[in-house]
C-alpha cells in the first residue's frame, strides 16, 4: 500500500509526522484513513492509538475526508483586525458551507487556522500550498472562481 512513501523513511517513530504528511498530501481527499493508520503502525511498530493521538493533536492533519482544495483562513489577531471575519462570511456565502465543512461537490473544505506568518498582507488565507493576501471580498470572488472555473 504505502511502500513508495515508507521506502523514503527508516522505520523510526521520529519519522511519523513526515510519513503522515505525505500520506495526507497524496490522498485525493487529503486525509488519513484508519486503514492508513494501521499500515503506518505496522511499519513503525508503534501502537495505532499513538498515531491517533498525534493526528488529533496537530491541526494540519485530518482524520475525515476533505475536499479537493483546502482553504485555510487565518483568524489570528492581526488578520482579525484587518477583517478576517468579513472574509469568513463571504467564503461561507460563496461556498455555502460553514467553517470545518466540505462543499457538496467535494471541491473545497473551509478551515480556520492560526497565524500563517504572512501578517504583513493580512487578511490572509492559504488554498492548498498557495498563499493569498490582502484579501477583499472582490478578490475572494475572483480567487474562488479561478478554482471552480477548472483553471487549477
Amino acid at each position: 500500500m504505502y511502500e513508495e512513501i515508507f521506502k523514503k523513511y527508516t522505520p523510526e517513530k521520529e519519522n511519523l509526522i513526515y510519513i503522515l504528511h505525505e500520506i495526507q498530501d497524496t490522498h485525493p481527499q487529503q486525509y488519513i484513513s484508519e486503514e492508513a493508520v494501521e499500515w503506518v503502525a505496522e511499519y513503525l511498530q508503534i501502537e495505532p492509538s499513538h498515531i491517533f493521538g498525534v493526528l488529533t493533536f496537530y491541526t494540519m492533519f485530518s482524520t475525515k475526508p476533505r475536499g479537493k482544495n483546502i482553504i485555510r483562513l487565518c483568524e489570528s489577531p492581526p488578520c482579525f483586525l484587518r477583517g478576517s471575519e468579513k472574509m469568513l462570511k463571504r467564503l461561507a456565502q460563496l461556498l455555502k458551507v460553514k467553517a470545518g465543512e466540505t462543499t457538496s461537490d467535494g471541491l473545497f473544505t473551509l478551515e480556520l487556522c492560526a497565524c500563517l506568518g504572512v501578517c504583513g498582507n493580512a487578511p490572509v488565507m492559504m488554498i492548498n500550498e498557495d498563499v493569498y493576501g490582502d484579501l477583499t471580498e472582490e478578490k475572494l470572488d475572483k480567487i474562488i472562481a479561478s478554482y471552480t472555473g477548472g483553471e487549477k
Binding site: 521520529e14 489570528s76 483586525l81 500563517l116 504572512v118 501578517c119 504583513g120
Partner: protein, 519 residues
C-alpha cells in the same frame, strides 16, 4: 560566465507570492525574451525586499531603481522603456519618502543584511558576501570554549521570546560529556504577528546554517536539527538547497576542513501547533509524539531530545552568531543598550501605511519603529493601541509610545519584547474584539495537558464572549483578571502563564471599551 548589463532582483517571499509575483516574473521573462534581452538582463529571485503593502516589487542593479506595486500591465512598459531604451520608468519607481525608508531600513542590518540583495538559492552569492568566513575562523582558529566566551561577551540574548543569554545557555551544555549532543533550531514561528524567522530563512538561509555550524561546534554537538513549521514551504525548499550545497562545499559532513569535527544538519517539519514552539514540546514533536510540554528541570540543555543534551535556539538568535564571530563581541555591543545588545527584527502590521519589517538597534523607540519603518498610522487615523510581542504580548496605549523596545525597558511596563511583533490599532479598533481574538487563539492552542490552562481558557473565552455580546457584568472584568492570574501561577508551561499579560493590559488601559459593552 555570462556578463549581464543589468540584474533584476525580484523579492520572492510568501508576501509577494500572495500578491502574485510568479505571474509577473513569468511575464517579465517572456517580454525580455521577445525583445532579445534575455542574455543582457538577468533575473534573480531573492528574499524579501522588506517592503510590504507595496505588492510585487523588484530592484534593478546597477541602476538601483526599485519598482513597486507592479501589475502585469506595467511589465511591457518597463521592458521597452527601461531595459531596451535605458530610461527607468519613474512613474512606477519607489519615490522619495519610500526610497528613504527603504535605504534607511538597510542601514543597520546584521541578520537581514543580505536579504533582498543576494540569491538565497546560490551559495556563491553568500560566499561572495563574506559568508562562511566566521565558520572557518571558529573551526580552525578558535577553541569551542573561546566561541562560547565570545558569544557570552557579546551579550546576545535569545530572540525566541524569553531573552535568555545565549552564551550562558551554551556554557551549560558545552562541558557535558555525552556520546552525542544536539543543536536544535526553533523555526516553529507561530506567535501571531511574527514572520521574522521566515524572512531570515527565505532571504539568507546560509546565514542560519553558518550560525548552526558555529553553535554546534561551540557546544560539541555533531547533529543539528531545524524544526520548522509545515506551512513554511518556501523556507523548507531553500534550506534544503542550502544544506545540500553546504555539503558539496565541504562545510558540513565528516572531518570538516580537516579539523576532525563532524556535523550533519537535518530538517524536521511540524504540523501546526503553536505550543510546539515551546522548547520541550518541540522536542516531543521531533521525537514523533504529541507536542505536550515536558517538565523542567531537567532542562533540554542537559537532557533533551532522545535524552541527549540539546541546545534549543531561535532562528534570529543564531543568525546573529556569524557576525559576532567575524567582528567580535565588542563590535556587537556597539548595537543596542547595555544588557540588550545587538539589533532586533520587528514585524509591523495592522493599521499602518507600510506593514513590513525592520531590523534596528535594540532599544529603538516604539514610536520610531511605527513612524519611520511602518510608515506611520494609517492615513487619516489616530493611534489607539499596539499589541507588542504577539498574542502573548501586551496592549500598549498612546502614553507608552516612547518606550524603548528592549527587554529591560519593556519590563518596566510589565511588557515583553516577545518575538518582536507589533500590531498597531487605530481608533476604529475595539479592544474587546481584539482581546476576544487573542483569547480565542489561546483557547484553540492550549494543549490540554494541565487543567489550569485548559479550563482557564474555557472560562476566559466564555467571559469575553459574554462581554462582547453586551451581556457582561462589571465583575466579569475582575473575574477575567483573577482567572488569568491563577493560570499564571499554576499553568504547566508559559502558554497558560502568558494570558495575564494581554488581559491585564487591555483592561487597564482600555477600560472604556469594556465598560461600553457592559454599560
Amino acid at each position: 560566465m555570462k556578463f549581464y548589463r543589468s540584474h533584476i532582483l525580484i523579492g520572492i517571499d510568501d508576501s509577494s507570492l500572495a500578491a502574485g509575483v510568479k505571474e509577473i516574473e513569468a511575464l517579465l521573462r517572456s517580454e525580455l525574451q521577445k525583445n532579445n534581452l534575455s542574455d543582457e538582463i538577468n533575473i534573480l529571485e531573492t528574499g524579501t525586499l522588506g517592503l510590504f503593502g507595496t505588492g510585487v516589487s523588484m530592484t534593478v542593479f546597477p541602476e538601483q531603481v526599485t519598482y513597486v506595486n507592479l501589475t502585469a500591465a506595467d511589465v511591457p512598459e518597463i521592458v521597452s522603456e527601461h531595459f531596451l531604451k535605458g530610461r527607468p520608468v519613474t512613474r512606477l519607481a519607489l519615490k522619495a519618502p519610500l526610497k528613504k525608508h527603504y535605504d534607511y531600513n538597510y542601514k543597520n542590518r546584521i541578520v537581514l543584511a543580505n536579504s533582498g540583495k543576494i540569491n538565497p538559492e546560490d551559495i556563491k552569492d553568500y560566499l561572495a558576501a563574506g559568508g562562511y568566513e566566521a565558520w572557518e575562523k571558529a573551526l580552525l582558529i578558535m577553541q569551542p570554549g573561546e566561541v562560547v566566551d565570545e558569544v557570552k561577551a557579546s551579550g546576545l540574548r535569545g530572540r525566541g521570546g524569553a531573552g535568555f543569554p545565549t552564551g550562558l545557555k551554551w556554557s551549560f551544555t558545552a562541558p557535558i560529556k555525552a556520546e552525542q549532543k544536539l543543536f536544535v533550531i526553533n523555526a516553529d514561528e507561530g506567535e501571531p504577528g511574527t514572520f521574522k524567522d521566515r524572512l531570515i530563512m527565505e532571504g539568507d538561509p546560509h546565514k542560519l546554517l553558518e550560525g548552526i555550524m558555529i553553535g554546534s561546534y561551540a557546544v560539541g554537538a555533531t547533529k543539528a536539527y531545524i524544526y520548522i513549521r509545515g506551512e513554511y514551504k518556501l523556507c523548507i525548499h531553500r534550506l534544503e538547497i542550502a544544506i545540500k550545497d553546504a555539503y558539496e562545499y565541504g562545510l558540513l559532513g565528516n572531518n570538516i576542513f580537516d579539523s576532525g569535527f563532524d556535523l550533519d544538519i537535518y530538517i524536521k517539519i511540524g504540523a501546526g501547533a503553536y505550543v510546539c514552539g515551546e522548547e520541550t514540546a518541540l522536542i516531543e514533536s521531533m521525537e514523533g509524539n504529541r507536542g505536550n510540554p515536558r517538565s523542567k528541570p531537567p532542562f533540554p540543555g542537559v537532557q533533551g531530545a532522545w535524552q541527549l543534551p540539546t541546545v534549543v535556539n531561535n532562528v534570529e538568535t543564531i543568525a546573529n552568531v556569524p557576525a559576532i564571530i567575524t567582528n567580535g563581541s565588542e563590535w556587537y555591543k556597539g548595537y543596542g543598550p547595555d544588557g540588550c545588545s545587538g539589533t532586533k527584527v520587528f514585524t509591523i502590521m495592522g493599521d499602518v501605511n507600510l506593514p513590513g519589517l525592520c531590523e534596528v538597534d535594540m532599544g529603538t523607540s516604539l514610536r520610531t519603529i511605527i513612524d519611520e519603518f511602518g510608515g506611520g498610522v494609517k492615513e487619516g487615523h489616530q493611534f489607539k493601541a499596539a499589541l507588542v510581542g504577539g498574542a502573548a504580548g501586551v496592549f500598549l496605549p498612546i502614553e507608552r509610545l516612547d518606550v524603548n523596545m528592549d527587554y529591560n525597558s519593556l519590563r518596566n511596563y510589565a511588557a515583553v519584547l516577545g518575538s518582536g511583533a507589533i500590531l498597531v490599532m487605530d481608533e476604529r479598533a475595539d479592544i474587546v474584539d481584539m482581546l476576544y481574538s487573542v483569547i480565542r487563539f489561546f483557547r484553540h492552542e492550549s494543549c490540554g495537558k494541565c487543567s489550569p490552562c485548559a479550563n482557564g481558557n474555557e472560562m476566559l473565552y466564555k467571559l469575553i464572549s459574554k462581554i462582547r455580546k453586551g451581556k457582561g457584568a462589571p465583575e466579569d472584568l475582575y473575574n477575567m483578571d483573577k482567572v488569568a492570574e491563577a493560570m499564571f501561577h499554576s499553568s504547566f508551561c508559559a502558554l497558560g502563564q502568558s494570558l495575564v499579560m494581554p488581559i491585564r493590559s487591555a483592561i487597564e488601559h482600555f477600560k472604556a471599551d469594556f465598560l461600553k459593552r457592559i454599560n
